[in-house]
């Protein structure tokens, strides 16, 4: 009997402890999400209620060319960022772990610095550096291509440039995760392998890579989610142009909702993006885990 009372009390205590989180979660995430799903089946404006229109918004989305363009651009951006930033972060982390003491801390801080900047500062810095008339990087472009390149106004340059800026900005966090992962690998493995005559490359492929895989999978998944949600940099650097070559799904949501007052349609796009991110990231994480287990 006393046993049961204690259990009840424990449950009560646990509930009280998680209540603040659960309440906040319901209030600022669950409720808005449910409302968004509701909205996506109506023709509501940005504020206020609308008529129930069933699947009309989704049907319209399937015939909207801009939706496919945006989807394609989202995919292109993911290709340009996720794997490159992960590989780069791994390389930087491996170099930093070789350093010792204050120098290591200094270099790590330097790589981490861009990450603490707000996005508007990041885009401002790069807008100046890449300015068509006065940018300090334009002589570099002029050297290779023969003339300055208006990077955010050129349909072929815009996405790779935004991707580069994004990698520069967010790479520090990935480096940090990799360093944590590398420090978790016991030096015993390396010593044992070295005694058996393993080369540098073998040390990496047979010890570091497999033991680091959980971290790599985590970084890849986090990056995938993050880069699918691309918006700020595009909005601030290229506004989706030229010729929609940098138009992405969240920009479409923003324009439909805040510029055109189509709350219902914007919600439908947001819902599709939400489902897309959930499906793709779960799929990717499972695939990566399976890949890791094989090794």
């Amino acid at each position: 009997m006393a046993m049961i009372t204690n259990r009840r009390r424990e449950v009560a205590v646990a509930m009280t402890l998680i209540a603040p989180f659960v309440l906040t979660f319901v209030l600022v995430f669950l409720y808005p999400t449910i409302r968004m799903i509701e909205l996506s089946f109506t023709d509501a404006p940005l504020i206020g209620t609308g008529e129930w229109v069933g699947l009309a918004n989704f049907k319209r989305l399937l015939t909207d060319n801009l939706f496919y363009t945006s989807l394609k651009n989202n995919g292109y951006f993911v290709l340009l960022t996720v794997v490159p930033t992960t590989a780069l972060a791994l390389a930087i982390a491996m170099m930093i772990t070789r350093l010792k003491g204050p120098l290591q801390a200094l270099i790590l801080a330097l790589f981490f610095l861009p990450y603490i900047l707000p996005v508007s500062v990041v885009t401002q810095i790069w807008t100046w550096m890449l300015d068509f008339q006065f940018g300090v990087l334009q002589p570099v472009f002029a050297f290779f291509t023969g003339k300055p390149v208006p990077v955010f106004k050129n349909p072929y340059w815009v996405m790779p440039t935004v991707a580069t800026v994004t990698i520069w900005w967010t790479n520090g966090f990935n480096v940090l995760l990799f360093i944590a992962g590398l420090r978790n690998i016991s030096s015993d493995y390396y010593e044992a392998a070295a005694l058996d005559g393993a080369t540098r490359w073998q040390l990496f492929t047979k010890v570091t890579w497999p033991l680091l895989w959980p971290v790599t999978a985590l970084v890849l998944t986090l990056q995938l989610i993050l880069q699918l949600k691309i918006f700020d940099q595009i909005y601030l650097l290229s506004s989706g142009g030229p010729f929609n070559s940098s138009y992405v799904l969240l920009l479409m949501v923003y324009r439909e909702a805040f510029q055109l007052n189509h709350g219902g349609y914007a919600s439908a796009i947001a819902l599709v993006l939400f489902v897309l991110i959930v499906v793709v990231s779960v799929l990717q994480f499972q695939l990566l885990r399976a890949g890791g287990n094989k090794q």
């Binding site: 208006p150 055109l260 007052n261």
Partner: protein, 423 residues
């Protein structure tokens, strides 16, 4: 003792005067920065000094999408201002969003105004389909052609008094551009070729000068309007190819190209007039300048134009006294709009626009004739300031004229993109 007496007397007086000093606080939002902002702040200050019983508390917000997004969201929850500035080109979307209260004839009477005091085009643009007024027009502003006369000395383009003459067609204008280039002008016609608003205003002017329409009955670039749009883009592309217009110029750069004497012409809004007036009077400009209506290049006389207006948000529970105070402020602004005209604008209030004082104000008087042939943006929720039309300009027209797409394809793409935005 004497001090105490004074204090007591002052206390008694302030008590006695309390009811009379039921001061009305007005919350005012605008998007006016730069020269416009300075002039508006001066006007508000003067108003507050002259009206001890009314106090305008003004906040300036960021022009464009941020401003109009904030207006819509705050009005929806009843937290909007008491009075705000609004672009007439934005009226269709404002009416659709239902953020603009009706301004009745009685309201106008409180302000000492009537509809007949304004240009009919401005009143029409400020009204809904039923003819109810939703905003009080304040000015008409358009683009004009700024001239650096030093490039045309001794040519057929300046008359004996040093005024621009002899530009009656596109061929004339391009001849002048070629001449200026020969005379050492780096970019003979500067406008912000990498900026949505500036490029749109030039494009729309060229389209209208061919008698073209952007949107007719919910159809974008219907019939031969598509060819006219392609032709307008073709003209701008040619200016680029010939090296007559600057490549990828942002707004400040386009102004600097003119003020530093590198451009013979500058196409921009009247709001840059104060910049040139100030530089000229300080002696830092270094050349003789002028500003005229955009010449008729393509058969029809037309210039893009828009208006600033005052509007009262819906859903505000406003006491009659406060509403009267708001209307008093609007009326006072209209009657003192000669100060606003010094920012280059043409007053929408006819008694000021036709006054001798305005008639002598230069260069406004030279180009004020454009008010008769000014063309507003099409009346559509997708047109106007910070609209999809502006987006399509920066997304398609600007890169196309820089050589990334053929004019005809660009016009088709503008049509398709904008058509898809009309629900």
């Amino acid at each position: 003792m004497k001090y105490l007496k004074t204090l007591l007397a002052a206390g008694a007086m302030s008590l006695a005067s309390l009811p009379a000093f039921a001061q009305q606080d007005i919350t005012w939002w605008d998007f006016l920065s730069g020269g416009d902002g300075v002039r508006m702040k001066a006007l508000i200050e003067r108003f507050n000094e002259e009206h001890p019983d009314i106090k305008i508390n003004a906040t300036t917000l960021e022009w464009g999408v941020p401003y109009y997004t904030k207006v819509r969201t705050s009005v929806a929850v009843g937290q909007g201002p008491d009075v705000m500035t609004y672009h007439l080109s934005r009226m269709p979307l404002g009416l659709e969003e239902n953020v603009l209260d009706v301004i009745s004839d009685d309201d106008l009477a409180t302000a000492g105004l009537s509809k007949d005091d304004f240009f009919p085009a401005a009143i029409a643009a400020a009204s809904d389909a039923e003819g109810n007024l939703h905003a009080v027009p304040f000015d008409i502003h358009s683009i004009v052609l700024y001239i650096n006369k030093s490039y045309f000395k001794g040519s057929r383009f300046l008359d004996d008094e040093g005024n621009l003459t002899g530009i009656e067609s596109l061929a004339d204008f391009e001849e002048a551009l070629a001449l200026a280039k020969e005379n050492g002008s780096e970019t003979p016609v500067s406008y912000a070729t990498a900026d949505d608003g500036s490029t749109y205003r030039v494009f729309f002017t060229l389209l209208k000068q061919q008698g073209g329409e952007l949107i007719t009955d919910g159809e974008v670039l219907a019939g031969d309007n598509l060819d006219k749009a392609a032709n307008a883009i073709e003209i701008m592309t040619n200016w680029h190819k010939q090296g007559w217009q600057p490549e990828q110029a942002e707004y400040p750069a386009s102004v600097a190209l003119f003020t530093s004497g590198k451009s013979a012409f500058h196409m921009n809004g009247v709001w840059e007039v104060p910049t040139l007036v100030d530089m000229s009077s300080k002696g830092t400009l270094g050349f003789d300048w002028g500003a005229v209506q955009i010449p008729t290049l393509l058969g029809t006389t037309a210039t893009w134009a828009d208006s600033h207006a005052f509007a009262i948000p819906t859903g505000k529970e406003m006491s009659p006294e406060k509403r009267a105070a708001v209307m008093t402020a609007i009326g006072w602004m209209e009657k003192n709009s000669i100060s606003w005209a010094s920012a280059g604008h043409i007053p929408a209030y006819k008694p000021v626009a036709t006054s001798d004082e305005f008639g002598q104000m230069e260069p406004n008087a030279t180009y004020s004739s454009l008010a008769d042939t000014a063309v507003y943006d099409p009346r559509s929720p997708i047109a106007g300031v910070a609209s999809p039309v502006y987006d399509a300009t920066i997304n398609i027209i600007s890169p196309a004229m820089h050589g990334y797409l053929e004019p005809a394809q660009a016009a088709q793409q503008v049509k398709d993109e904008l058509q898809s935005k009309i629900q």
